[in-house]
């Protein structure tokens, strides 16, 4: 479904990603981990269409991925991914209205009623059934992310991109959110890419783990080499030793990068 061929991303002289080659099949759940600044979020933005490759190809169904966001790729950011001026219900209903041609995307009559029913159904599914008249500012962090997910799902994407969606949440709530995401992934037959800071999160969630790391590091020019995928592992067939090894690698890179700065 998604294929990258010798993909590079540079900002001026700074190489962020290099020599990326990969294939992803429909229905996979991929977690992307790595030290900060190692390009995992950049790769997600390239899938999203807000960043473009410097060289190489990133293909969706054999065609270059569009260079602007579209309804086939849903997104949940760590924050700011819901509309603060709309109530919870309106936030989700907006997803329906935006799908239609028109100047405002406002819904009327039967279409509005149908959108409301669908929105209520999905809000109940993510556990926000009782919160539909609240504004996002009144929700807790976890509830706000549930809302962002519900909204993204009603847009009926094929691919769901999650950019550190649970980074700001408490550990207990994070576990609930993991269950929710796994359930929705199966139910809606999505292909999921999730960027996370938390290595253990990536280690146990989903079907496939990518570790972004730098294989080469020049202490005199820390930006000369970019990161690539150093581990591409199927989740569920790994043991604790592997986790420790990856963790050690990433810590090493982080430390050397720090020193080089």
């Amino acid at each position: 479904m998604i294929e990258a061929r010798n993909l590079w991303k540079k900002y001026g002289d700074k190489v962020v990603l290099e020599r990326l080659n990969l294939r992803v099949e429909e229905g996979e759940f991929i977690t992307l981990v790595g030290a900060s600044g190692c390009g995992k979020s950049t790769f997600l933005k390239m899938l999203l269409g807000t960043e473009t490759a410097s060289s190489g190809e990133l293909l969706l169904d054999g065609k270059p991925i569009p260079d602007e966001p579209g309804p086939d790729r849903g997104i949940v950011f760590q924050q700011y991914s819901v509309f603060p001026h709309m109530s919870v219900l309106e936030n989700v209903m907006a997803a329906r209205g935006f799908g239609r041609p028109g100047v405002t995307g406002l819904l009327f009559g039967a279409a509005r009623q149908q959108a409301r029913d669908e929105a209520r159904a999905i809000l109940a599914e993510v556990g926000l059934g009782n919160a539909e008249s609240l504004y996002p500012g009144e929700l807790s962090g976890g509830m706000r992310q549930r809302l962002a997910i519900a909204q993204a799902l009603l847009g009926q994407p094929r691919i769901l991109l999650l950019d550190e969606p649970f980074g700001a949440l408490d550990p207990g709530i994070r576990a609930d959110m993991h269950d929710l995401v796994l359930r929705l992934w199966r139910e809606y037959e999505l292909t999921v890419f999730m960027v996370t800071h938390d290595l253990t999160e990536g280690f146990y969630l989903g079907t496939r783990l990518w570790v972004f790391d730098k294989t080469r590091l020049d202490p005199q020019a820390p930006d000369a080499y970019g990161a690539t995928i150093t581990y591409d592992l199927p989740v569920g067939q790994m043991d604790g030793r592997k986790l420790k090894k990856i963790d050690r690698d990433l810590t090493l890179t982080a430390r050397e990068t720090e020193k080089a700065l």
């Binding site: 579209g70 309804p71 001026h85 907006a94 935006f98 995307g105 009144e138």
Partner: protein, 272 residues
Amino acid sequence: MKRFINLTPAPATRMMFGLLPFVLLVILYIVASDARLAENPSDKLLPGFSQIGDAIQRMAFEPSKRTGEYLFWGDTTSSLTRLGLGVLIAAFVGLVLGLLTGALPSVSAVASPLLTVVSLIPPLALLPVLFIVFGLGEVSKVALIAIGITPFIARDIQRRTLEIPREQLVKAQTLGANTSQIIFRVLLPQLMPRLIDAVRLSLGAGWLFLIAAEAIASTDGLGYRIFLVRRYMAMDVILPYVAWITVLAFLIDSVLAWVSRRLFPWQSKGVQ
């Protein structure tokens, strides 16, 4: 003893502290006015409250001997109409300009440099041009207010538009929104309270332009009256007029603040 920087007066004390300067000013005025009036009962510079009361009675509650109108209310209506029209036009044009330049990089490329330059022109310097082009009637006064505050509102709204997190715009696009849907559903509603804020901030300048225009060429209005009676040193009329303008400014500001809270309840419910 706490540091001065950490001393916070209790609510009741704070209110007393707040009233104190007003009371002192009034006392100071009464003492000074009495002293001058004792020396010269027909002094015009610091009229007593009874003289001011007489003037208010004459201006507001008795028809003018010459025209039969209640001058005070006529002046108020004319001034508020001019100010309201000018501000309304400025708010509308400023909103459209600010929103489009903030949201659409291509429009910004065309309009932003011009907007920056125009905002540097002192509006009062344009007043003669307006008088020449539009004549001495209402249009030139309204135009001065509108031209004077539109650039401020436009630039403020432009900045506010750019402050809205990009994530929201990306999210809307992943839900299938087109450009106009993003403008009307995501940006515009979030900018409306910002527009009210911008209008509140620009009202001071609005009054300035109004009074300047009325002082130079007008036949009625609060600013016109003040500058007219200045010739007779009629402080008993000028002082209540200035106080009335202050009260009006305060009322308009309070009403706008209330409207903003009332219409956009999501603002006060925390910012996400």
